[in-house]
């Protein structure tokens, strides 16, 4: 009956209850949307970086990364790549020759990382072909084809079929140059792909440098949602002496970003919850003061403090229990809709892309977030009710009955 009484008390002042329920709905909704969209930024960006650039795992010679010296190869890289490809949970592997150098057009020059790729396997690991906005994936041009990013093409003032020259120091320390013709232009959310990379066929680059079948990098793509640790361990056990890194080590900024997102979410959560607490304290306090005499009467006739306290808390929890599911529903509907159609940020995409984001945002939310949000809203509601309930328990029945 206490439950029934509390429930009825909730509907005593409908307008007031609706205001609280409304703000709970809004709070839950805002939390879900905020989390969903921020996740969308983060997750899609991270997925982009992993699937189109760094892969899950990379292997290098221990010395290679110090100054990208052309002579530090992964020994038997191509054979290792072929072997690892057959391991469980490994989706694809590929090898690369990596040389830092210059690219120049008749008009301009720029620093590039020349990536001599195994075109068939590269396609499987980074889906480089899917990023093409112009031209083809090394088709139609026999001699020295090259693919560069859209931003780099702009900088160099070049288009499809334009000629560019790559210049770099070869394995003997001599400056070497090679002429290439642009066969494709790619665009991605990754700054590196857009501005820094120049993709050429591995065997073309091998010829110019005379480094033969040697490679500098081995990239391993795993099946989705597979932890890298097992594969890293297996690699280290099978082949000793190489440097094996996961994307978290290769791109620490991603991990940092994830942390930043979490912090932003906490702040957002804190703001919304604080607003909610104040709203609830205010409303419930009004509800208590309005019923001062009645509460005084109840305590006079023998309703214990625990019951009075519980009654006020239950009333508040009811408000939360009505509001939270509606907020969840609203949030879920909004998110499902936008996760299908996406939010087109093309209007602002200049700015976003320079940060490395793609221009269509797909909000994304893990299921447990719904639970966490509901739980924290109900807890917030309870916290907001503590003071009013305490106030109710503290009243003196004689004085309360006296007030007119």
């Amino acid at each position: 009956m206490l439950l029934k009484l509390s429930w009825k008390n909730v509907w005593r002042s409908k307008a007031r209850s609706f205001v609280v329920i409304g703000s709970i709905i809004l709070g839950v909704w805002a939390l879900l949307i905020g989390t969903g969209f921020m996740n969308g930024f983060g997750v899609s960006y991270m997925a982009d970086v992993i699937n189109h650039d760094v892969s899950n795992i990379q292997v290098h010679n221990k010395e290679f990364k110090k100054d990208f010296d052309i002579n530090y190869f992964v020994s038997n890289g191509t054979e290792k790549a072929a072997k690892v490809r057959t391991w469980p949970h490994v989706k694809a592997t590929t090898t690369r020759i990596i040389i830092n150098g210059m690219i120049s057009s008749p008009k301009k020059g720029a620093a590039v990382q020349i990536r001599g790729i195994d075109i068939a396997n590269e396609q499987k690991v980074t889906q480089l072909d899917s990023l093409l906005i112009e031209g083809s994936y090394f088709k139609g041009l026999k001699r020295h084809p090259i693919i560069i990013g859209s931003k780099l093409a702009k900088t160099l003032h070049v288009k499809l079929r334009s000629k560019v020259v790559l210049t770099f120091t070869n394995d003997e320390g001599l400056i070497t140059a090679g002429a290439f013709r642009i066969v494709g232009i790619v665009k991605s959310s990754s700054v590196k792909i857009n501005e820094l990379y120049a993709f050429v066929k591995q065997k073309d680059l091998a010829k110019i440098t005379s480094i033969g079948h040697q490679v500098h990098e081995l990239a391993i793509l795993l099946e989705p949602h597979v932890n890298e640790a097992a594969t890293v361990a297996k690699y280290n056990q099978t082949y000793k002496g190489d440097m094996v890194e996961t994307w978290k080590e290769i791109a620490p900024e991603l991990a940092l970003m994830q942390q930043m997102y979490n912090q932003m979410l906490y702040i957002l959560m804190l703001i919304i919850m604080t607003a909610l607490v104040f709203g609830i304290v205010n409303t419930m306090l009004m509800a208590v003061l309005e019923r001062y005499r009645e509460l005084g009467m109840l305590m006079a006739v023998g309703m214990g403090k625990a019951n009075v306290y519980a009654m006020i808390l239950i009333e508040t929890i009811y408000l939360g229990l009505v509001g939270a599911p509606l907020g969840l529903l609203a949030g879920w509907l909004t998110l499902s809709y936008y996760s299908k159609v996406g939010v087109d940020l093309t209007e602002y995409s200049e700015g976003l892309e320079s940060f490395g984001y793609s221009s269509i945002l797909y909000p994304y939310l893990e299921n447990n977030v719904y639970l966490i949000v509901t739980f924290s809203v109900v807890v917030t509601a309870i916290i907001g009710a503590l003071y009013p309930a305490w106030k109710a328990v503290k009243l003196n029945p004689v004085e309360a009955l006296h007030k007119i």
Binding site: A300, V301, G302, M303, V398
Partner: protein, 227 residues
Amino acid sequence: MSIIKAENITKTYNESTIPVHAINGINLQIEEGEFTAIVGPSGCGKTTFLNILGGLDKATKGSVEVAGVNIGEMPDSKLIDFRLKNIGFVFQAYNLIPVLTNKENIEFIMLLQKKDKKERETRAMELLEQMGIADKANLRPSELSGGQQQRVAVARALASKPAFILADEPTANLDSKSTATLLDIMAKMNQEEKATFVFSTHDQRVIDKAKRVITLEDGVVISDVTR
């Protein structure tokens, strides 16, 4: 054995600032089955005295025994429970919970007293019948007249057959007809259920119905007449 035994009660408000001596030494015993009115001019200390007898307020000096228990020394939380089990209250107004029906109002207190559902329902209906408002059981208090509401309040006070029922000016807000009806019902319950009533009033018609009239003035008993 007396149900209420008040010994040398004094009550001073605002002891530290400007003291108001509301009760100045009252000795009183009330026996089982009494139908007693506390009367006197406004400000003579009726409410204060009833509050002390009912354990709502503490005396500055003196002791109050209810059913053999000294309630002056009871801690607050115990006192609430004691009131729940031993004393019925009827106030001048604001007696009922507006969101519950009349029947539920009576049941609610029995629920607090941990009576089981069946007992609650039969007793509530029995009382409503005795009050002559059984047909109003499922209405809200606001749908009743003031006099009918007070009858529900009396029913609630009687619900668990308390040691006695305290009523501070239960008829102050009622017209003369409702006042008469309520008093008749109270008198009937006093007869039928052997319920002990102690009520305050300054209405002469109410005083006329009382069996014992205790008159206060300036916080002391100036006359105590049993008829």
